[in-house]
């Protein structure tokens, strides 16, 4: 059996990749995918702990996160389409109308 720290390390790496992608990338779809990556990094740590402590609640949480992520994907993609239709770009730096 793979020891817990390995899982946690992988989870941290996935999350860090997500954060980095979120901060660096300009394409709105890439940013969106980075968010999913962060979520899944967290999910991994949840199931790792659940397996370690033999507790079901971690796995339940993962399902919740997946449900929310699915809903978010639906809404998010719809917003992205709407943004693309009105602004004709997917670059977040160009979508800054709320700036003071």
């Amino acid at each position: 059996m793979v020891p817990l720290p390995y899982y946690l390390l992988l989870s941290g790496i996935l999350f860090a990749c997500g954060v980095a992608g979120f901060l660096i990338k300009r394409n709105i779809i890439t940013i969106f995918m980075s968010i999913e990556l962060m979520l899944n990094g967290v999910n991994l740590s949840f199931v790792a702990f659940a397996a370690q402590w033999q507790a079901l609640s971690g796995q339940v949480f993962v399902f919740f996160v997946m449900v929310v992520a699915a809903a978010e994907a639906a809404v998010g993609l719809a917003i992205i389409i709407a943004v693309y239709r009105t602004r004709a770009t997917l670059n977040v730096d160009k979508v800054d109308l709320l700036k003071l």
Partner: protein, 684 residues
């Protein structure tokens, strides 16, 4: 069995009238407004008469607790009403004279704008005045006290577009505020020492105390109450508002500034007689203030040429008499004069209003004259009132003034001397008014040329019904109240004919239970209710018992003779100066020079007050409170904090760049900080 009187209805009725007319009056016709005003003031009068009919079956003092009002610790005040002989007399004066003046006002105000407003205010005044006199504790009385001040302010400034009327209203309000301040302090002292404001409880709490030889808290309370009375009843030094109050419509001057409101101070002092009796210093102050006011106001009255101003100073002077009476602890004599004064001074004002009405708004007596034949009803009723106030024997003013002077003499002959001189001056200026207005030649402009509005408010003008030329008698609706009041002025005094003149002074006997002295260990005389200590100090007790009755009677007759004599002397002098030889007054005025100028200018009191109080106050307000505190502290605090917020946000708003990734960076940075902190906490 004591019937339940529902006293609370008496003040509430006029309030209903005031509300109806105030809220809906604008849409009503004049007839409807009149109907509402008459119904509710008449209903209050009818209630008062009903109370009279029930009076003999009451256990006095009758009290009625309507609802609790304030409860704070052991102190509590109720909405309660109180009825005794004194209240009953005030009740009859206020509702009776008030109702008559409501009738009269319809005629007087018919062509004025704001007809409904006038009657709404007038009813409101009745509500507050009735609250004042029916209250069962000082606090409820204070509500009425302030309320009549409000109504007075509203009615003085009734023609508010006229600058002088608006400022006269303000002046009355502000000067009264000074007096009210004293009244309030007195109430605080009463609460502090007795823990209650209820009349009955205060009186019973005061009874254990003896006479305060020096100053004490009772003296302080009494003096502060007197300060309040000075404001409301226009005594020195706070009398200055009353002459200016003549800017209001004449019925208002009659009701508020002659018959009822200004006598509230006398009522309040009489109501607190248990306190005053124990504070000889305060009583002396009351007597001195009253005497001085009576004298000085009368002297100013001689030189005034505005018919209403003469009457105003006369009112101040007569109120001085009432306080003189209170100051020598002859409270029932004061109340007696209050009643007769309400009759004849109310009548004088109403008749003066009728004169002003008939000559188309002229108030200057120099432009009147010879009106006797043209307005006979007004002339005869005014004659009755003039003779009454001048103290001609047989009329109401004679009895009441004589009673006061006699009591004043018993206390101190100086009061009496000044009182008699004042009586002479009173008689003189009243007959001066009488001769100037009704005798000689008409000195006004040509009879057809006066279409302008009365009370000198030119902008309002007169309607068609009144634009016709010529001096004319007033309508019946104005004359009927005049006749009723004339009747009362002539015969009203017979309820209190002093014993020395063959009467039995029913009035004083009626009031005796109220003013029964609360002081212990004193012999009562035939003048029940007068504290012994205040009168006849020079005679010992035994002598007093023995000789008093006989001696007093003959002395009283001599003094009565003197009063009558000075009254007739005033009449003669006025006849000489203003009828027989009309050029003489000017020569006398010239001969007197500076003295005359001083009196004409009312001793420059207004100017002195302006220089000593008003100007410095305005200066301090402008320099310190406005430019200093308001602009540099209050405004500056707000301005600076607003500027500070703007500067801080100028820096902080740079964070909102609109760049999504920079927001995300801040979030990640924040999350990282939290994680580091938690790790640090966890490993510690």
């Amino acid at each position: 069995m004591t019937p339940h009187l529902h006293l609370w209805l008496i003040p509430i009725l006029p309030l209903i009238g005031a509300t109806i007319n105030g809220v809906f009056g604008k849409r009503f016709s004049r007839q409807t407004v009149t109907g509402v005003a008459w119904t509710f003031s008449g209903a209050a009068f009818a209630m008062a008469l009903w109370v009279v009919s029930q009076f003999s079956s009451l256990v006095l003092p009758y009290t009625e607790q309507l609802a609790p009002w304030i409860q704070a610790g052991s102190f509590h005040a109720e909405f309660g009403f109180y009825l005794d002989q004194l209240t009953l007399i005030m009740l009859l004066i206020v509702t009776g004279v008030g109702f008559l003046i409501h009738i009269y006002s319809v005629g007087y105000m018919w062509e004025e704008g704001g007809f409904y407003r006038f009657f709404s205010y007038l009813n409101l005044f009745l509500f507050f005045m009735l609250t004042l006199i029916l209250a069962s504790n000082y606090l409820l009385m204070f509500i009425g006290w302030e309320g009549v001040g409000l109504a007075s302010y509203l009615l003085i400034g009734f023609w508010f577009t006229k600058d002088s009327a608006a400022s006269a209203g303000k002046k009355a309000f502000i000067v009264n505020r000074i007096g009210d301040f004293g009244f309030l302090l007195a109430l605080f002292l009463i609460i502090q020492h007795f823990g209650t404001l209820d009349f009955t409880q205060v009186t019973s709490a005061v009874i254990p105390y003896g006479i305060e030889a020096g100053g004490g808290f009772l003296t302080a309370i009494a003096i502060l109450l007197m300060v309040g009375a000075c404001g409301k009843s226009a005594q020195i030094p706070l009398y200055v508002w009353l002459p200016d109050a003549m800017e209001g419509p004449t019925p208002v001057s009659a009701l508020i500034h002659a018959a009822t409101m200004v006598t509230a101070g006398v009522y309040m002092v009489s109501r607190s007689h248990a306190i005053f009796e124990r504070a000889p210093i305060a009583l002396t102050i009351v007597a001195i203030i009253g005497t001085l006011t009576a004298f000085f106001a009368a002297t100013i009255g001689i030189t005034q040429t505005d018919i209403k101003k003469v009457l105003a100073y006369s009112t101040v002077s007569q109120l001085g008499y009432m306080f003189m009476a209170c100051g020598v602890a002859a409270f029932s004599a004061g109340i007696f004069h209050l009643m007769t004064h309400a009759f004849f001074k109310g009548l004088l004002f109403l008749a003066a209003g009728s004169v002003i009405h008939s000559v188309g708004g002229e108030q200057d007596m120099r432009k009147m004259g010879g009106l006797r034949k043209k307005i006979p009803w007004t002339f005869w009723t005014m004659t009755a009132a003039t003779f009454a106030i001048a103290g001609i024997p047989g009329l109401s003013g004679f009895f009441s003034k004589d009673e006061i002077l006699w009591r004043a003499y018993q206390a101190n002959w100086i009061y009496w001397l000044i009182g008699v001189i004042t009586a002479f001056i009173t008689s003189f200026y009243m007959f001066r008014l009488w001769f100037m207005t009704f005798f000689g030649e008409y000195r006004g402009e040509a009879e057809s040329g006066h279409g302008h509005g009365h009370d000198a408010h030119g902008s309002h003008g007169h309607g068609d019904g009144h634009g016709h030329g010529g001096i004319h008698e007033s309508p019946k609706v104005m004359l009927i109240p005049l006749v009723i009041l004339a009747f009362l002025s002539v015969f009203g005094g017979y309820v209190g004919v002093p014993a020395a003149l063959g009467g039995s002074n029913h009035f004083e006997k009626f009031l005796a239970p109220v003013f029964e002295s609360t002081l212990p260990n004193q012999s009562t005389t035939d003048h029940a209710g007068t504290p012994e200590s205040e009168r006849g100090d020079q005679i010992t007790e035994a002598e007093l018992q023995k000789y008093e009755h006989k001696a007093e009677k003959s002395t009283e007759l001599i003094f009565t003779g003197i009063s009558v004599l000075v009254g007739l002397l005033g009449l003669f002098l006025a006849w000489l100066l203003y009828y027989r030889r009309p050029q003489l007054p000017q020569e006398i005025a010239l001969a007197l020079g500076g003295l005359y100028r001083g009196v004409v200018n009312k001793y420059y009191v207004d100017e002195i007050y302006a220089a000593v109080f008003v100007k410095p106050l305005i200066g301090i307000s402008r320099g310190v409170f406005w430019h200093g505190i308001d602009q540099h502290v209050i405004d500056a605090t707000l301005d600076d904090s607003a500027a500070g917020a703007r500067e801080v946000s100028g820096v902080v708003r740079r964070m909102q760049s609109g760049n999504l990734r920079s927001y995300a960076g801040w979030i990640a940075f924040g999350a990282a900080v939290v994680v580091v902190y938690m790790v640090w906490v966890g490993t510690r």
